[in-house]
Amino acid sequence: MQSMIKAMAGTPPHAHHPWPRRIVDADTWSALAAQLAEGRWTLAGLWGDAGAVHMALLDMSRGESQGELAVASLPCPTGQFPSVARRHPPAHRLERTIADLFGLEPVGAPDDRPWLDHGRWRVGHPLGITTETSGEGAPYAFLTAEGEGLHRIGVGPVHAGIIEPGHFRFTANGETVVRLEERLGYTHKGVESLMAGASLERAARLAGRISGDSTVAYSIAFARAAEAALGIEIPARAHWLRALMAELERIANHVGDIGAACNDAAFALMHAHTAVLRERVLRQSSACFGHRLMMDKVVPGGVAIDLDRAGAEGIRSLMATIRQAFPPLIELFDNTASLQDRTVGAGILSHALAHQYGCGGYVGRASGRAFDTRRDLAYPPYDSLRFDVPLFQEGDVNARLWVRIREVEQSLGLIDQLLEGMPSGDISVAIGHGPETREGIALVEGFRGDILCWLRLDPTGIVERCHLRDPSWFQWPVLEAAIEGNIVADFPLCNKSFNCSYSGHDL
């Protein structure tokens, strides 16, 4: 990483914490893209700015728990930048988004179709030089697959069930999927536009609403980026309370997902039981922190609510309940042959793809990519806690569910440690603003994987630019690959095992 940073021999314009940011020229930018393609770094984010593009690179070459992050920035005065996707496919949709939002053109990009912009915003390039558009929508050229007996099935964006909107275009040969193409962007809310010019308080609330099921993780990511930018140290108790909320969120989501995936294989029994467990977690969260999803409880500077003795006792008894109820459910999951028949061997994601795309969370860890921000780019209090990062190699639906199961067990252990060692003291500090423009970055482990937050605050403490990258950005594309060769009827199950966020991705 040091060599990379030296190669990026530009001076940073503003203070950037905790990891370095360097200005690079087009050649270095292209060289970095080539190194990404070689697999030397992992792409952690690629986003636009006023007249510049930024790329976050993750270096894991020093081994476990020694991860490093750096940001390379390329000014694009001409409105163009060399495409990263040309060499490194994971950058595809990120570049298309940059083109949609900022009007910056990736030169040499293999795919120049719009991504988030469906032509219905009545404004083009909302974050760059805006243009007026008709708002009537533009036709979208889906990729073709031709051959005898192939037929197309379009699903969504409105689905029969109550799920988020997304369009899936299958090309199938009978029941076998030959190609799947996703089209997302239906839940675009303009978060990045809303962020620009927002006060820190408002921006924190916005960040907590990007993907409702990960609201704690998003809030922590935003708060950590803001604190890094402003150079604030928050009290230890705040760190521990944040982790407690994050682990509760992880347990609730994982338990819910395990049941929901079984439900997609029409095994409603698991779903019924896990729904009860999830509900218990949500109710306890509500009792302790005043909100079922703990929304807005993590704020820049600390946390908004303290945990009292009764709350801690409530969580302890909740943990006991889960410890008692969870293992029989896992036994049921593992011993139901008809269910195993569905999950084993379905939707296999290869090792190579998981590494290339830097898939975070259970998607990566089920395909042999052992990366967990809590361990590899450890932030407090995880640097002082004991936990394992479960790893599976099979890459199928079953493995993704097993990663979740093992992570629930790890989270139970973490919560024990958190309650045991919870330091006393304040839960927040006042936040001011710097005398100059400051930038911060944070990488936080949500239940889906690593959430990146990059933030620039102006001297008055107003957000100039904030980018939040959901883990789903690097999981949606590999779902297309994982479903290939599977049967159409298995897609819902595979999709559920990925459970990517629509809202987090569409911003």
Binding site: H151, R152, I153, G154, V155, H159, A160, G161, I162, G174, E175, C262, D264, A265, A266, F267, A268, L269, H271, A272, V276, T336, S338, L339, D341, R342, I487, V488, A489, D490, F491, P492
Partner: protein, 320 residues
């Protein structure tokens, strides 16, 4: 004096036709309720299927622009064929008027026609889901129908008739414990699950359009059309339960010419049998996951094989 009154075939036939028509949504409601209770949910009321039918019947039927005349008449064909088929199976009494003109083979043919037209309607609108549903249904049917025919042969060989009233009477008289009949029962249960779009072949409660079979075919239907199709599937479920009850547990069936109170007892016993069948179905569906679509042929292949073996065994045992 009423005891002495002999109930004739005509009135039995009419009451039986009304019984299956009016009773079938209750069975659907029962299965849903039991499934819900097993999942610790309250579940919809037992009478919900009736309310749904009334609601649908009152609604406007929206028909796709690309639909042909076939699309409109199929619900009526499917409903009529299924209803007639159900009327041919002795539920509480054997002396059915229609029985003498139609046997088990006719029942299979009627159900086969209903399915054929439904599959056509699924493809008629030209949506991808209808096509998927129809092609999956056709795949299931190509295996389920031969299996059903083999089951009929087995039963016919044992009873010496394909005539259900006769079969029921002979079964009542006692044919002893037969391996072939056991195989036929097992095969018939499998076929019944597949034919009624139940688990593990199809999930009647799914919201996942890509996994549907039966639901995908009727996805474009609405209003009274949908009400007829829903009622037809409820009748079909009752039909299969009645068939199994009639052939394998015929006790309680009122013989032809029996007095009224015997018929009333027969009706009570019948309702009890169907209730047990509904509960068993709900329990079974709760305990398993749905199969991969391509596992269905293996599952139905087992039914076909059992049907074959049942027939073969009878021939072998007879010639020895």
């Amino acid at each position: 004096m009423i005891d002495m009154l002999l109930i004739n075939g005509f009135s039995i036939q009419i009451s039986q036709m009304l019984l299956v028509l009016l009773f079938s949504p209750l069975l659907t409601g029962l299965v849903r309720k039991v499934k819900a209770r097993l999942l610790r949910r309250q579940g919809p009321p037992l009478l919900q299927p009736y309310r749904d039918l009334i609601r649908l019947a009152r609604k406007e039927a929206v028909v796709a622009e690309s639909a042909s005349w076939l699309f409109r008449i199929v619900p009526y064909i499917v409903f009529a064929a299924t209803w007639v088929a159900a009327a041919l199976i002795p539920t509480f009494a054997t002396g059915l008027l229609f029985s003498w003109s139609a046997d088990l083979i006719v029942i299979i043919a009627l159900l086969g026609s209903a399915r054929f037209f439904l599959a056509l309607a699924g493809m008629d609108v030209g949506t991808s889901f209808g096509g998927i549903g129809s092609s999956r249904e056709a795949m299931i049917a190509t295996l389920a129908e031969p299996a059903l025919i083999m089951i009929v042969f087995t039963i016919a060989l044992v009873a010496g008739s394909t005539q259900l009233s006769t079969v029921a009477n002979i079964m009542l008289a006692g044919v002893g414990l037969r391996v072939s009949l056991g195989m036929a029962l097992f095969a018939l249960v499998i076929v019944a699950l597949a034919e009624n779009a139940r688990m593990p072949v199809d999930n009647p409660a799914t919201h996942l359009e890509l996994t549907m079979v039966h639901e995908a075919m009727v996805l474009e239907y609405s209003g009274r059309h949908l009400a007829l199709l829903e009622l037809a599937s409820a009748i079909k479920l009752l039909l299969y339960c009645s068939l199994i009850a009639c052939v394998f547990v015929p006790w309680g069936l009122a013989p032809a010419g029996a007095p009224l109170h015997v018929h009333l007892i027969g009706a009570a016993v019948y309702i009890g049998k169907i209730g047990i069948a509904g509960c068993l179905l709900a329990i079974f569906e709760t305990l398993i996951a749905k199969m991969r679509v391509f596992r269905v042929p293996d599952f139905l292949g087992a039914a076909l094989m059992l049907g074959f073996l049942g027939t073969l065994l009878l021939f072998v045992s007879r010639s020895l």
